[in-house]
């Protein structure tokens, strides 16, 4: 569905901002871009959505080279920018009706969209009177109104309380279940680990790693087992891989000798792996 080959992009003539990227995204996949601010995630999204067309290499969506797109290209694309893009003087329902009227495709009933994110009682309220979280939710469902095949979501749960973040994540998973392809840009490794089939770690315009969250975690040793035991009067702490517990002679011995004082497992997060691979924090 999305094919990127040898993609490079520069804002100036001197330095490449996106460097030789190669990856593909299949239909029905949730693909995450993870990276710190300024890594090139938003630029990459702008290239994929046809806003920036002066790139080198190839970017194909549904076999169409994006730089050659016409406006009908957007009939099948839904975008949820990080910051709400809504008419503040108009009500929620007026906003959805207007944005829906731009498309020729069959639309989802606006009231149904508002119900999905708990805004049905605020349909006739002006957006200027909405809280930040309400604007985020309305902005999100605005991207769904024309039932696009590909969704670009930029920090969709940013600024939301846990309950509403859960609602949004469930909608994203429902969209995937209905066959939509989703590109998720985020700082939030918990969202990425939970939602994405695959993620790409992006730093300084380059992809440093690309795989499923599970494989990335496992590639670095996976879950660790931490235990401590008494050696005389001294307490000693050790760590071993969960998959090597049977071959750890010390662990075997102290279990037999009843010297174990504590034992627990710890799983690295996607953020731990990101820091290990890239040497950078996500924020």
């Amino acid at each position: 569905m999305i094919e990127i080959n040898n993609l490079s992009f520069s804002y100036s003539d001197t330095k490449s901002f996106i460097k030789d990227m190669n990856f593909s995204v299949s239909k029905g996949e949730i693909f995450g871009f993870l990276g710190p601010s300024g890594a090139g995630k938003s630029t990459l999204q702008k290239i994929l959505t046809g806003i920036l067309t002066s790139y080198d290499g190839s970017v194909k969506i549904n076999n169409l080279e994006v730089k050659h797109h016409d406006n009908s290209f957007y009939e099948d694309i839904g975008i949820d920018f990080e910051f709400p893009s809504l008419y503040a003087k108009f009500t929620a329902i007026e906003n959805l009706n207007f944005f829906g009227s731009l498309y020729t495709k069959e639309l989802i009933e606006p009231m149904m969209l508002l119900r999905m994110v708990g805004l049905e009682n605020d349909a006739n309220k002006r957006v200027s009177d909405f809280s930040k979280g309400m604007k985020s939710r309305l902005n999100f469902v605005k991207a769904l109104i024309h039932q696009p095949e590909i969704l670009f979501l930029d920090e969709p749960t940013s600024g939301l309380d846990p309950v509403n973040a859960r609602v949004m994540k469930n909608i994203i998973l429902d969209q995937k279940a209905s066959g939509k392809t989703i590109i998720l840009t985020t700082h939030n490794m918990h969202d990425a680990a939970e939602l994405c089939d695959r993620v790409a770690f992006i730093v300084e315009g380059e992809i440093k790693a690309i795989d499923t969250p599970h494989n990335l975690i496992m590639s670095r040793g996976g879950t660790k087992l931490k235990y401590s035991y008494l050696e005389g009067t001294k307490e000693i702490q050790r760590t071993t891989s969960l998959f090597e517990t049977a071959s750890d002679p010390i662990l075997k011995r102290i279990i037999n000798d009843n010297k174990l004082t504590s034992i627990h497992s710890s799983e690295p997060t996607l953020e731990d792996i990101f820091i290990e691979v890239t040497g950078r924090c996500l924020q």
Binding site: D70, N71, I77, F81, K89, L102
Partner: protein, 241 residues
Amino acid sequence: MRAYVASLKFGYRQITRDNMLLLMIFGPILCGVIFKYGIPILEEYISERYGLGKVLVPYYLLFDTLLSYIALNLICTVSSFIILEEHDDDVAAYLFVTPIGYSGYIFTRIITPIIIAFFLSLVVMLFFNLSELSFPLILSLIFLSMLYSAAVTLFTVSKAKNKVEGLALTKLSGVVFVGLLVPFFVNTNIQFLFGVLPSFWLAKASVSYGTSFFIPSILLGAICSAFWILIFYNKFKNKLF
């Protein structure tokens, strides 16, 4: 086409939600009525009150030239305020990734209002001009005013960060009006120092009608406005992306 129509309709709805914009839409006709009927009354009052001869009549052509620009500029100012509000709400950037696209946005928010303003200005000038101008002169003045208004619109939307700044810049761009007075009051070649201002060529075309300098004035006026349009269009595009 569906997206274009929807965008234009919504632009109209934005105007109806804002009393200032709504008033500005009727501004060209209001100005026409004031110019057509107010100025002769003022002329009569000044003559009677101070016992002077005709004070304003020699400048009726200046008032007509001004009217040709005001009518167009008011409509273009409305469109620039809509653009600034859409920029404020972050909607403009979003519309570029809908079936309207960037080209559709420029068409519905800049080109269409200018075309509408052109015809509205034509009607206003035909009905409300003071000097019984000929049709070719009216058309020429509106053509130059159209390019001049486009340059001012692009100047406002490229420089202002929001509607309040837009209002201030619209007032500031009134300084450029000085070029309108020069051909009427300065007879030496010093007047051409104001040739960088589109307003100068608008007035120059007015005073040159019937002379050999009429067509060159229109051409130079068009080139002058095109120059400013190009500069501010690129600035506007950089601001949007």
